[in-house]
Subunit: 254 residues, 2 copies
DNA sequence: TTAACAATTAACAAAATGTTAATTAAAAAA
DNA sequence: TTTTTTAATTAACATTTTGTTAATTGTTAA
């Protein structure tokens, strides 16, 4: 087409990949869980040997969207290219288009977040070397001088993760297929600060009644695990129930 | 800059403007409220006299984003240009970038929704003639053959309106500064289907305890209105309380 | 006066939540 | 073998919230 429209200089897809790592803190103890974000270190030269903008800085993975794909597909493609993993939950959460955000020109970033289980993460580690890709706690990431406006994008992504963790069954994507309640609790507590979750008695009384998880059975008997405790703990899995909440129905916290 | 990146052919900002109209159904009765969307009819010729793509079809208002502004600012600008109204709540909710969505080329749409009170709507009507701009009920709008993928965008916008109406104090933007409970109830019922809202006894018992609204006082006395009833009804206003809900705290509906 | 009617309020039963204390099961120590 | 320890429950009960039905209130209009 002829240039009858004012056109941007580029359209990129950026991805904030989050995972929650488990650190064994002792035998028969629930592991310490922590939210981490995956960042890449921008190389000095691009594919064509030209020096790279913002080289050497840490940044969100991503790249230019191709004309025959959507930004969502580009995110899938880049994730597969960079991590070798497919099937992760990808969600668009914002667009970054402030003039001057990228010195290369008028470049629009379509931002996504991804929630990956530790298992997915493990296969990633095989495709990248540690000098180019890293997993950072949020505290660590806040110390870094990130490329472009990726600091803002990361902050916003975190906000969406928190919101979706509270409002949806997002926790599912950080957990194995079958999990015990303390694992769910641990995942939730990495981003949510709520006494009804952090108080064991309250959480363990309420959790088994949550309509979107169900106890796993084996030969008709409750399936239990000793992964994290001497006492066998009931295994649960998420079902397809989509919970709905409303500020006009439920008790509210500020 | 030189074209070292693959570039889109255009970047647009589209706006789904929603309002809730009140229809007087009788004296001393709560009016019938209905959600409506504002659409414009695409003219045959563009500003330069060339024939317009998708001419004659109804479409969301919007337009190309200029290089020195964000899509959000473009939405503000276009709204002001088209409706003469400023200060409306504008919210980004999605990006539409499927190849082929616009026959003119690779054009990315950054989509927003706007929630306008009827008052804001009234001033709009002065700046546009009825043949080019229209307010449609959602039922009416679904009958129309909308331009581009605006049907999809509109459907998605509606979904976000419903979600935000349930999860935030979005209703505020559809109401006057001071309102009676039946007005709030009416607004909510235009998009939410919930017995705890539609059942008068339940709603009127719960609503006065909602932390994000407060009774209006006048000279230290409750301020009341006879707008919609013979019995004076208490006036309320929204305060700044930001309610938080969670699927792990509250009773859930499917 | 009385009927009508939206807007409440009252009263009470039913559910859900918060909290403290007990119980359970298996490993590890004595 | 017995006891201790610890995470994972379960029990019990008080407190809050919610759902529901029935009454009350204040005003207009007949």
């Amino acid at each position: 087409m002829n240039n009858q429209f004012i056109t941007p200089d580029g359209y990129t897809s950026d991805i904030a990949v989050f995972t929650i790592t488990s650190e064994q803190v002792g035998e028969y103890k629930p592991p310490k869980k922590e939210l981490k974000i995956m960042l890449i270190k921008r190389s000095e030269l691009d594919h064509e040997g030209n020096s790279n903008m913002e080289a050497g800085k840490w940044a969100l993975p991503g790249g230019f969207v191709l004309p025959e794909e959507t930004a969502f597909q580009a995110a899938e493609r880049r994730l597969a290219e960079e991590t070798g993993v497919e099937g992760l939950k990808i969600k668009h959460f914002g667009v970054y288009d402030s003039p001057g955000r990228d010195l290369r020109g008028w470049i629009i970033s379509n931002a996504h977040y991804v929630t990956a289980s530790e298992a997915a993460l493990r296969s990633r580690k095989k495709t990248y070397d540690a000098s180019e890709i890293g997993l950072f706690t949020l505290a660590e990431a806040l110390e870094l001088d990130l490329a472009f406006d990726h600091r803002t994008i990361m902050d916003d992504a975190l906000w969406f993760i928190k919101k979706d963790m509270a409002l949806t069954t997002l926790a599912k994507h950080f957990l194995p297929e079958e999990f015990v309640l303390s694992e769910l609790q641990g995942v939730l507590l990495t981003v949510l600060d709520d006494p009804s979750i952090s108080t064991d008695a309250a959480f363990f009384r309420k959790a088994p009644t949550l309509p979107f998880i169900e106890a796993v059975l084996e030969d008709g008997k409750p399936k239990k695990s000793n992964r994290y405790s001497k006492t066998p703990a009931q295994l649960y899995r998420f079902n397809d129930f989509q919970p709905i909440v409303s500020v006009y129905r439920n008790k509210l916290q500020g």
